[in-house]
């Protein structure tokens, strides 16, 4: 039973399309995150939700909109996709910083 699961694992789409990535966790953690890992493998935070409330929004274009329908889910919707959005997107959760983050396996988004 995967602790943090993301779907889809791979996503290839054309410029200008709208797409969503879904994240579900069964750990009961209060805080969920979206991270972007670019081609240089640099991980950068995009959003953080705590109990369905947005607490971190890091200078991300407003084409990106996170949605947390409940504590176990955090989805990422991207409008008008651009070539520069190609990256691996990771969902993560945390309970206590002593135990760090639990990451999903990532969604590789390729915009063509």
């Amino acid at each position: 039973d995967t602790a943090v699961s993301q779907t889809p694992k791979y996503l290839v789409t054309q410029m200008g399309n709208d797409k969503s990535i879904k994240c579900e966790q069964n750990l009961g953690h209060d805080t969920m995150y979206w991270y972007k890992q670019d081609s240089k493998k640099f991980l950068k935070i995009m959003f953080s939700y705590n109990n369905k409330e947005l607490i971190i929004n890091e200078t991300v274009p407003n084409r990106f909109s996170p949605k947390s329908p409940d504590k176990a889910h955090l989805n990422l919707h991207i409008n008008s996709l651009e070539l520069g959005d190609s990256a691996v997107y990771f969902c993560a959760t945390s309970y206590d910083q002593a135990f760090g983050y639990t990451f999903g396996s990532g969604t590789r988004l390729t915009v063509v």
């Binding site: 971190i56 910083q97 760090g100 990532g106």
Partner: protein, 110 residues
């Protein structure tokens, strides 16, 4: 702004050849420094949290240490299965924003 710099970018070791990875940082008010391991095609896997200078944590062949300016991940007698990218990250200030370094790609050759 918080900064995390890891070195070297890549490291190739023979099996059994011990070494250290470096993570130097600048931060205003460190709340925690983290080490993660990332295998290709997977998400990072949490290894350690360090909170204050002088602290050390160990797990199997890995030992993490912390000073006021840097952290080291010591790998003793590494095995091929230790091959991965090791990421350093830090948390400062209020909410749970964590800044990651770019990682050190470790390859252990049999």
């Amino acid at each position: 702004e918080d900064q995390v710099t890891q070195s070297p970018e890549a490291l190739r070791l023979q099996e059994g050849e011990s070494s250290s990875l470096n993570c130097s940082y600048t931060v205003s008010g460190l709340r925690g420094l983290f080490w993660y391991r990332q295998d290709p095609g997977k998400g990072p896997e949490f290894l350690f949290t360090l909170y204050s200078a002088g602290e050390e944590k160990e797990k199997e062949r890995l030992k993490a240490t912390l000073t006021k300016k840097e952290s080291f991940l010591h790998i003793t007698a590494p095995k091929p299965e230790d091959s991965a990218t090791y990421l350093c990250a830090l948390q400062s200030g209020g909410y749970q924003k964590v800044t990651f370094g770019i990682g050190t790609k470790l390859q252990v050759i049999p």
